[in-house]
Amino acid sequence: MNKEEVSQKSKSILNAQDSRLKYIVCNLKSVFLLLLFTTYCLLSSAFTGCAKKEDTIKIGVAGPMTGDQAKMGTDLKNGVELAVSEWNEKGGALGKKIELLVEDDQHDPKFAVTVANKLSNSGAAGVIGHWNSSASIPASEVYKDRGYIPMITPASTNPQLTERGFENVFRVCGRDDQQGMIAAEFVVKNLKIKKVAIIHDKTTYGQGLANEFKKAMGNAAEIVYYGVVIQGDKDFRAVLTSIKDKRPELIYFGGIYPEAGLLVKQAKELGIKAPFMSGDGTIDKEFIKIAGKENTEGTYLTFSPDPSNIPTAKTFLDKYHAKYGEHGPYSIYAYDAANILLTGISKAGAVDGKKVSEALHNFAYEGALGAIRFDQKGDVLKAPYIVWITKDGEFKEYWKPAE
């Protein structure tokens, strides 16, 4: 070690001592500041925060607000927002204003649980959401454990959601077993198809729907291929090439539009001519945008009837269009779900999870979609699914099952 190094070393030791001193001083300062800050917070919350809390009824909205399914989350949020602003104009519920808590679950089951805990902690009186079945199912358990906070999902169709006997879980949409049945009936009776390939995206919704469809098909047609794609992936050519080899007359997909769009596009590029069919997760303009207009010609999907043809929906649609522009497939469901929840709270007369859940089971609501009434499980009594077709870049009603 030469002289220079030695002097540097001693310098650094000195520096270290110096900085330790500084650190302690700094710490004292910050402790003091922290104390000041907390006292301030305590004081201010005592005067304003607490008073404010009593003033509002909080309603949670949870869904995929960011990510590839963000469009659905936004539709959901807008629908609820519209309902809440109408209630607030009329003076709110139980004499209190309604406050909206919007949370993003990124269509991820893990985030859904975090979001559910967050909403429960902030005292949400009820939740509209989530959008994806894979998010709704784990979240519903949190809401149940945290005092039966009622949740009404506008879009989660997996049967499992309401099959577990939770009193606080409701949905205003149909179920995948109903949807799968209608799809199978259409394929067998109307298209008279004998060979079907089935793909799903491994999510609770996609896999559930694909399995319900498979079950409903029974022996009416041969399932020549049953496979999986990974959500978020962009290249499905390997799966599609295997399918092409099996020469199915129809490809059924359980999943959401980002993958559905790419599947349709890549299938056409590989020269697959079999028509494509999917469930309610693909009814969005993005599906056509991703797949390309000409590739989506003649693709089928199952969904409820077009709200534009429901007379009761007109006021809602006019208001929604004026405020947010074009309505999404689930905007109207979110709107009705929010109205039902707020009516439930008013009828229960208190912000109490158990009471509100009980009230929700016991009335019929005349909403934008028509009359909605929940059964004991929390499903809607009537869930009319119909088959839609894509023509000229638009989704159109196509086929109704015989009554």
Binding site: V228, A238, K244, K268
Partner: protein, 300 residues
């Protein structure tokens, strides 16, 4: 079906190979893994959509489609080349003589930064590449090959040959080889090592941008996260071929694409990504130098 899977795999593989070249070139010279390289590829894909959008608005795509596609490649390549240059200046040059782990951490930091930067500026929703390229193709013994696939294969092959010639035949290529063998000696004989390194980054980034543009056209939709998986797969391809070895990266990329395509169709599509990483682990255990590599990857 086998031929179809073969073509799908080769197309995917040539894209991996193009990205892998950037990893391997940088490693060859600096012995660092540029983990932000996948993000450059992602930015290239975004640039394709942005530039094409501008050209469509200007009305050029309707008049001359091949010219506008060419412009997309050039502008996206230049743009990403600049990103590569800046990346080297900001994240690696200040750490040139630091401990070997520092640039690695800096690289990961840059990767996270770029990903979030694109997420915040471009949004989280998938961007769709306009459907202007005809999806037609030809049929060969039951397999349909789209012209786009042929284009991707041909363009990658031309680019790789050009790179090979550039490194073997030109003065700058010779300087690059000299720097990768011994950068100190190279600077002693009058090679400007800093500028050689900068050129390496620019070339690697242009190749990644080309891969990005081709993927944007091929898949048709792009999001801010695609650089992550593609980057790791291309890194696997580089390791498979022998990191630091340029023909190795090309071979590794093509092999990886084939394994993925064939594995997904004959074994299980659920495990598509597993195959790539299985290869990475197997290569690192049994042949850390890769298929064509001479150097042991102990510096990683």
């Amino acid at each position: 079906m086998f031929i179809q899977q073969l073509i799908n795999g080769l197309t995917l593989g040539s894209v991996y190979a193009l990205i892998a070249l950037g990893y391997t070139m940088v490693y060859g010279i600096l012995q660092i893994i540029n983990f932000a390289h996948g993000e450059i590829y992602m930015i290239g894909a975004y640039m394709a959509i942005i530039v094409l959008g501008i050209l469509t608005a200007a009305g050029l795509t309707a008049v001359n489609l091949p010219l506008s596609i060419l412009l997309v490649f050039i502008i996206s390549g230049l743009f990403c080349g600049m990103y590569g240059l800046t990346l080297e200046r900001v994240a690696y040059r200040p750490l040139r003589h630091a401990h070997r782990l520092s640039p690695l951490i800096s690289a990961i930091g840059m990767s996270i930064f770029l990903q979030n930067y694109v997420m915040l500026t471009q949004g989280t929703v998938d961007k769709v590449f306009p459907h202007i390229i005809p999806s037609t193709g030809m049929e060969i013994t039951g397999a349909s090959i789209s012209y786009l696939q042929i284009f991707i294969l041909a363009a990658s092959f031309i680019l790789m040959t050009a790179l090979h010639l550039f490194i073997k035949k030109t003065r700058l290529g010779k300087a690059m080889r000299a720097t990768s063998q011994d950068s100190r000696m190279a600077s002693l004989v009058g090679i400007n090592v800093d500028s050689v390194i900068a050129v390496t980054f620019v070339i690697g980034s242009i190749l990644a941008a080309t891969a990005g543009v081709m993927v944007a056209m091929y898949y048709g939709s792009v999001n801010f996260f695609i650089g992550y998986t593609a980057g790791i797969k291309a890194f696997t391809a580089a390791v498979l071929g022998g990191i630091g070895n340029i023909p190795g990266a090309m071979l590794g990329g093509l092999l990886l694409g084939l394994v993925e395509g064939l594995g997904a169709s004959y074994i299980s599509s659920e495990y598509k990504d597993v195959f790539a990483f299985l290869i990475l682990i197997l290569v690192l255990i049994f042949r850390p130098t890769g298929l064509l590599g001479e150097r042991v990857g102990e510096k990683v």
